[in-house]
Amino acid sequence: MKVAKDLLYTNDHEWVKVEGEVALIGIADYAQHHLGDIVYVELPEIDDEIAKEDSFSAVESVKAAADIYMPVSGKVIEVNEELIDDPALLNADPYENWMIKIEITSKEELEELMTSEEYEKFLAEEE
């Protein structure tokens, strides 16, 4: 399972890339692998304010639907529209293909997330 460096991770296999006050959010390789062929992605509206651990998206494979949760609270400022037309991009490269861009509400919440090194260890224990 690939783990991209310099990202922060959740127990639910979402990742966050922090760039100042904004952040990109996506799903980790582990998540796309376990879902299988992704055929549908639902994304929030611009300006939606979503709290940490609330669902911001549904990602569905042929077999199953999975809710994707906010790693940190924030306001949605951009969504990756490409995923609507081509959900399989999340299978092809889950780190390149971010899902939403947010304005972070509370940067302290970032401290609760795992570094890529910590996430690697977490994955090793999950297996």
Binding site: D37, V39, Y40, S61, V62
Partner: protein, 364 residues
């Protein structure tokens, strides 16, 4: 109850299958990927381990009369070496199981039942025996079974046997087919909507048959296929899955499978009275197909509404790999089943528009 392993368990693991507990059995959901396996079966050939299925034999002087009494289909019309799909109902018309009945001889029948229902069915059948002169045996643990399915299934299987497979026509069987040295029963049956065969033999024999078929089918692009695509394939082909389109609570008439319920058959069968009554009184709910108009994939259990009122639920729904459409089966009040009717599927608490279409999704 401890999860059981089929004789092919080690094959699944070595092929990289994603093994899960299904109906008390360790079985692969997928190997390479659901969609790739689905397409292999639709366009070429795929191989399924179906050793979890149950096999119950009914033998003896009264076997024909007894099986006919248990089943909704007309078993008296079935000839030797022929197979029939049928329901086995309770007195209230609810489905105990849906199954294949293999007739070897008028005093020798072989039932192939759902894995999750095998114990229940066996008990049920024993309870109905009464004064019928029959011997009933659950031989599930001694039988290994694979299904080779797809337009190239016959071509692949034919490489391994001298038996002319053209002689095994749709829903017939041959109990003595030598497949590369393994004695098997072969029937032209399946659960995918494609041509294909189901192969039954011993637990040891099935491992060799599995390996030999994967080897023989290389040229044709054979793929091992998991439970994931087994469900999408049967769904596209309008074949019911027990617990979804039919169940102890959903009668075969509500499921839209009246063809397999011979209400006018002369002999009595369990459930006949109640099913006749249900048919005469009119169904309170009915299975219909639908296609999403709005964005979203319908899933089993999602509520269906019309003008804000609940009218039923989704029994199965998918992004159909073959049709590339979001479609499903709806169990709803009959007044909404007319083609073209618009309904709302409640997806994550939001109504999303769908339209009733024919539930024969796959037009062949």
């Amino acid at each position: 109850m401890e999860t059981k392993k089929t004789p092919l368990y080690n094959e699944h693991v070595s092929l990289g299958g994603k093994v899960v507990d299904y109906a008390g059995w360790f079985l692969p959901v997928q190997y390479e990927g659901l969609v790739a396996e689905h397409e292999a079966v639709r366009n070429a050939v795929g191989l399924f381990d179906v050793s979890h299925m149950g096999e119950i034999t009914i033998k003896g002087k009264d076997a024909l009369a007894f099986v006919d009494y248990l089943m909704t289909n007309d078993i008296s019309k079935v000839v030797d070496n022929q197979i029939v799909y049928t329901f086995m109902c309770a007195p209230d018309g609810g489905v105990v199981d849906d199954l294949l009945v293999y007739r070897f001889h008028h005093d020798d029948f072989y039932l192939v039942v759902n894995a999750s229902n095998t114990e229940k069915d066996y008990k049920w059948i024993l309870e109905q025996k009464g004064s019928f002169d029959v011997e009933i045996e659950n031989i599930s643990d001694t039988v290994g079974e694979v299904a080779i399915q797809g337009p190239l299934a016959q071509k692949v299987l034919q490489k391994l046997t001298k038996t002319d497979l053209n002689e095994i026509t749709f829903f017939t069987l041959n109990r003595s087919v030598d497949i590369n040295g393994v004695e098997c029963m072969v029937s032209r049956t399946g659960y995918t909507g494609e041509d294909g065969f189901e192969i039954y033999t011993t637990n040891d024999g099935i491992v060799k048959v599995w390996k030999d078929l994967l080897e023989a089918g290389k040229e044709e692009g054979i793929k091992p296929a998991g439970l994931g695509c087994r469900d999408t394939l049967r769904f596209e082909a309008s074949l019911p899955l027990y617990g979804h389109e039919i169940s102890q609570e959903i009668t075969p008439l509500e499921g839209g499978f009246k063809y397999f319920v011979k209400l006018d058959k002369e002999s009595d069968f369990i459930g006949k009275e109640e099913l006749n009554k249900q048919w005469k009184d009119g169904l309170k709910r009915k299975l219909a197909g639908f296609e999403m108009i709005g964005r979203g994939i319908p899933r089993e259990g999602y509520e269906i509404q019309k003008d804000g009122m609940k009218i039923g639920h989704v029994t199965t729904g998918y992004m159909s790999p073959t049709l590339k459409k979001n479609i499903g089966n709806a169990l709803i009040a009959p007044e909404f089943t007319e083609l073209g009717t618009e309904v709302d599927i409640m997806i994550r608490n939001k109504p999303v528009k769908a339209v009733i279409i024919s539930k024969k999704f796959l037009k062949k």
